[in-house]
């Protein structure tokens, strides 16, 4: 068994930023285990731009953003075990992995989980009809087109209006395909508004809300799909069924944090985010194990993934050095209009600002968010609009964190 101070699982944006932050905070024995050949994770196939505005102050494509962090990893001499698949993590921080050299067992003083997320598989969606070729998850299609140069299809329908679906609508159009429609089962899009503008409106692609794919047609290859509107219980309205000929169906139906390692380790999870329960440094309920990035909560901006990973990196470094401290913690709770709040618990007595990240349950116009503990208001913020597709961040100042005894709640109210 080998030993390292910090083992980071995953070499995507979260893993890289966490490793760099841990190193810069005084723990130089950091290693990254990554199943891929190159660092960068999913960013390598996200060739569009829009990354880094917040974090780096310039607009980059995914591969460029990844390269900035891969460079930081290399400069620090952080060891990367590439093409290495982690098969188990234990609560006492033993990481088991496989690569071409065989089995690897590492005893770590701290572990950072940064495995990212994966797409909701098609099986989970139960669309009636045959199972012909030409049905892809949006992310798989993205990899085939952007990394391998395959033409995935000529006439395309996309189910799901999350950001990957929108980005792929534009990519397929640019590559010469005709995107007939993007169907969204919810009455609103789950993607960023800017993506609806620059990926759909720019290319004249219709977005049909409260609409689903009711049936897939074709034996060997997709020949068409039946789309239909749904009622408020998401049941197909028969009279609205309509046939669209196409050879390809892309599914962009949400992302799920990839937490098999986390749950097999017995680390406490949240039923809402499908990620671990964490504190302000992203430490899970199991001491010395931290989580960050999309494995913790699905983000819409990589910039926020990097921010979160830095917190985990700092936390893990301090844990190893024995300076993180243990404090009494208090819960955070979503209320009225808020779906979840992360971190789910916050230490008392740190004397540091605490940022709370949250998502709302449905689209709203102008809203005021209020963070409270009992009757004491800790922070509030007004937003001109709020949507489930856009993560919100609220910061509670250190001085407001003094003398708190009741759980921290976050709620919203609509304002005129």
């Amino acid at each position: 068994m080998t030993e390292h101070d910090i083992v980071v699982i995953g070499g995507g944006p979260a893993g890289m930023a966490a490793a760099v932050a841990a190193f810069d905070n005084g723990v130089t024995d950091v290693v990254i285990l990554d199943r891929d050949e190159h660092l960068g994770g999913i960013l390598n196939q996200c060739i569009h731009n829009g990354f880094g505005l917040h974090k780096l102050g310039r607009e980059l494509t995914g591969p460029e953003y990844a390269a900035v962090y891969a460079e930081k990893v290399a400069e620090r001499g952080i060891r990367v075990y590439d093409k290495t698949m982690v098969t188990a993590v234990s609560k006492d921080r033993i990481v088991t992995a496989q690569n071409k050299d065989g089995m690897l067992e590492i005893k770590a003083k701290a572990v950072i989980l940064a495995m990212g997320c994966r797409e909701r598989p098609r099986g989970a969606l139960s669309i009636p009809g045959a199972r012909p070729a030409g049905v892809y998850s949006a992310g798989t299609a993205q990899k085939l087109v952007n990394c391998m140069g395959y033409a995935v299809g000529k006439k395309v329908v996309i189910l799901g209006s999350g950001d990957i679906g929108l980005i792929m609508a534009r990519r397929m159009s640019l590559q010469g395909a005709k995107v007939e429609a993007v169907c969204e089962i919810m009455p609103y899009s789950g993607g960023l508004t800017r993506n609806i503008v620059q990926c759909l409106e720019d290319f004249g692609i219709p977005l049909y809300l409260s609409t689903t794919v009711a049936e897939i047609h074709g034996k060997k290859r997709v020949e068409g799909v039946t789309i239909a509107q749904v009622d408020e219980n998401r049941r197909v309205i028969e009279s609205t069924k309509r046939y669209i000929p196409c050879d390809t169906l892309l599914l962009s139906c949400g992302l799920i944090p990839e937490n098999e390692l986390t749950s097999s380790a017995g680390i406490a999870m949240s039923g809402i985010t499908s990620g671990a329960l964490v504190d302000e440094y992203r430490q899970t309920e199991t001491a010395g194990i931290f989580a960050c990035g999309n494995v913790l909560q699905v983000h819409d901006l990589v910039d926020y993934v990097s921010d979160e990973a830095e917190l985990a990196g700092i936390g893990a470094a301090r844990f190893v050095k024995g300076t993180l401290g243990t404090f009494e913690t208090i819960e955070t709770k979503p209320e009225n209009g808020v779906r979840y709040v992360l971190p789910q618990r916050v230490s008392l007595g740190r004397n540091e600002d605490v940022s709370l990240f949250l998502r709302v349950v449905k689209p709203f116009g102008k809203v005021r968010f209020t963070v409270k503990s009992g009757d004491t208001v800790l922070a509030n913020a007004v937003r001109l609009k709020a949507a489930p597709g856009e993560m919100e961040k609220l910061t509670v100042r250190a001085e407001k964190m003094q003398n708190i005894t009741e759980p921290i709640t976050v709620c919203l109210e609509e304002v005129q």
């Binding site: 060739i47 731009n49 800017r194 609009k385």
Partner: protein
Amino acid sequence: MKRELTCIICPRGCTLSVDTDVTPAVVTGNSCPKGETYGIEECTHPVRTVTAIMRVANREDTMVSVKTAAPIPKEHIFDCMAEINRTTVDAPVKIGQKVLTNVFGTDIIVTKKIL
């Protein structure tokens, strides 16, 4: 004429209202100065950064990602794609390397390193 737009410069996505009846046009709803520039540009000569992929001729099944070094007029997006699709590169390439020059007033540069 008044036009409603979503600013696409940053993820905040402010809803802009642009009054083009007056000169210079008046933008409201923006949270920062970039939104004003975007609003006016979008109503006069809209531009976009184009990102794409280019075949790496000396590597099997390998594409390299590229982009326009600056945004180009929106109406030339498809002509720009055609230029890119006509071109191949040979590895190694590094980020920022020019692979086409003077395409609708800018260059096409590499966004991914291929060894």
